[in-house]
Symmetry: C2
Subunit: 304 residues, 2 copies
């Protein structure tokens, strides 16, 4: 099997609060078709790809909140996407709000799934680094209530064999943390897929708003280079319900170089030929972990 | 005490193999004077600042190797630098090859020291991440025998109180590892000082040579932003004994922005007003470690 994989990022423009799952999925199918014409074997969609980014609103009524959650995956709403991808033989990943029964109780996560070329869900990832806050903070222009609406995930960054390579998923704020990429790489991941919804405005540090895109790329480029890994970061972007979201979805080579980047703030496909053998260039030399890491010198990194 | 500190980076051009310590130190004093005129309170000099970067040569004779090592610090050779800095009331840090008796045997380290405004050596750091190789590899255009000539340091990244802030030292290859900055930050460091000697040519990955400066900045900028820390990276640069070394020494703000950068490949002073209170902008919000890190999810980072 070739170690070159053609990976697409399917950036999505805003999803309105009243936009149906059917409409969002139809857009995803259109992006999938576009990616297929570009030869893509894997398509990466954003975080919470099926709905608007609802944590921007405070809602007290759990029923109102639950409108944004999926209770089964796949479900009828996403069936057209699964069917089309299976017909095309394309693997894909996307994010959604997940409501599930586990440990005898209802639990809610910010989740992404990896789906193989046969349309089977082969992995779940539940966001570990939830950003934002848990209480209503009316002084903000908009809320960021992920710590209220979701529980943090409790599983490590799993490595998923797919298309002859090893993939691992992260979601949005996870990408800012160097720990994310390192844990993935130590588990053998060669490609990190990362969906995001990132407001351009950060309420506590408005003087940093102009740096959002720089920080987005900085973290993913450093994560790629320092781990010899392909990184595919894909956003939901544009002005969604009055909130401007970061675009510039990109594919980063194991050298840290951005090799594909979105140039719009709407639905757009980017694509790159990702040679997974290039990971070894980095990992066998400067970032040869076994030879050059000094874990005994980093006792605090894993200290709880 | 103000939390604004004026920090200078004193980049150095090449040091010839036959250049005396006296000559190198005279250049350092001249740089110190230049930094003083720019108001500097702290000056950061490169790794192995007193000699040429001798690990580029294979030497079998330990006496020949030991010519490049200091057996006491301070010593007569560096006395003019210590005296001038004390007279000016400027703190400083530089790197040197250290030969010392410890645990009943002769040991050699790639070391840097921090010297306070009274001229007292207040901290030693011995390089943890030694790059390169231990055996002679004649196929290389030049050697990189740090693993032969030095032992790796065995102490964590210490945090040193100085000038009202908290400083930590790293050396060259340490700066490529996100673990370095994170361990420093978890120990409270607000400024990382990093000296380097980085050949533009990387023998095992010559196709990456054009990326050296990008990688240099990428790692330090990510380390600064992801830890809300000032990073001062200062190289020995220019063509030293036929080997081209990376320049672009820089000072990076806690936002990850480069706020000062060298524009030559020779002796040059860069300077920035570093407000240590800006670290909190990052550390109290997006990188609030206590609130947002998930160390239980990173078991492999410290695993030995």
């Amino acid at each position: 099997m070739s170690r070159e994989i053609i990976i697409a990022g399917a950036q999505m423009g805003p999803i309105a609060r009243d936009e149906s799952r059917a409409s969002a999925v139809a857009r995803m199918v259109a992006l999938l078709d576009r990616a297929a014409r570009l030869g893509a074997q894997m398509v990466v969609f954003p975080e919470l790809a099926l709905t608007t980014f609802f944590p921007r609103w405070f809602m007290a009524d759990q029923q109102e909140i639950d409108i944004f959650f999926e209770t089964a995956m796949p479900n009828d709403a996403v069936a057209p996407l699964f069917a089309r991808a299976r017909a095309l033989g394309i693997a894909f990943t996307f994010g959604f709000a997940e409501k599930r029964i586990a440990d005898g109780r209802v639990r809610r996560f910010n989740t992404s799934i990896m789906v193989d070329t046969a349309g089977e869900v082969v992995a779940h990832y539940r966001k570990i680094h939830l950003p934002g806050h848990a209480e209503h903070e009316p002084w903000r222009a908009f809320q960021h209530l992920e710590k209220r609406y979701f529980e943090p995930g409790e599983a490590f960054f799993e490595t998923v064999p797919l298309l002859g390579g090893r993939f691992s998923m992260a979601i949005c704020n996870d990408r800012r943390w160097p720990e994310t990429y390192r844990e993935m790489a130590l588990r053998g991941a060669e490609v990190a897929t990362i969906g995001y919804n990132t407001p351009l405005h950060y309420a506590q540090m408005p003087d940093h708003d102009h740096l959002q895109s720089f920080h987005n790329h900085l973290c993913m480029q450093a994560g790629a280079y320092q781990n010899g890994m392909w990184v595919v970061g894909v956003g939901k972007t544009g002005v969604e319900e009055g909130c401007a979201l970061l675009g510039q979805s990109c594919i980063v080579a194991p050298t840290g170089e951005i090799v594909a980047m979105a140039g719009t703030v709407g639905d757009e496909v980017i694509v790159a030929v990702c040679d997974l053998d290039r990971c070894a260039e980095i990992r066998e030399h400067v970032f040869n972990f076994a030879r050059n890491r000094r874990p005994a010198m980093y006792p605090l990194l894993s200290a709880t």
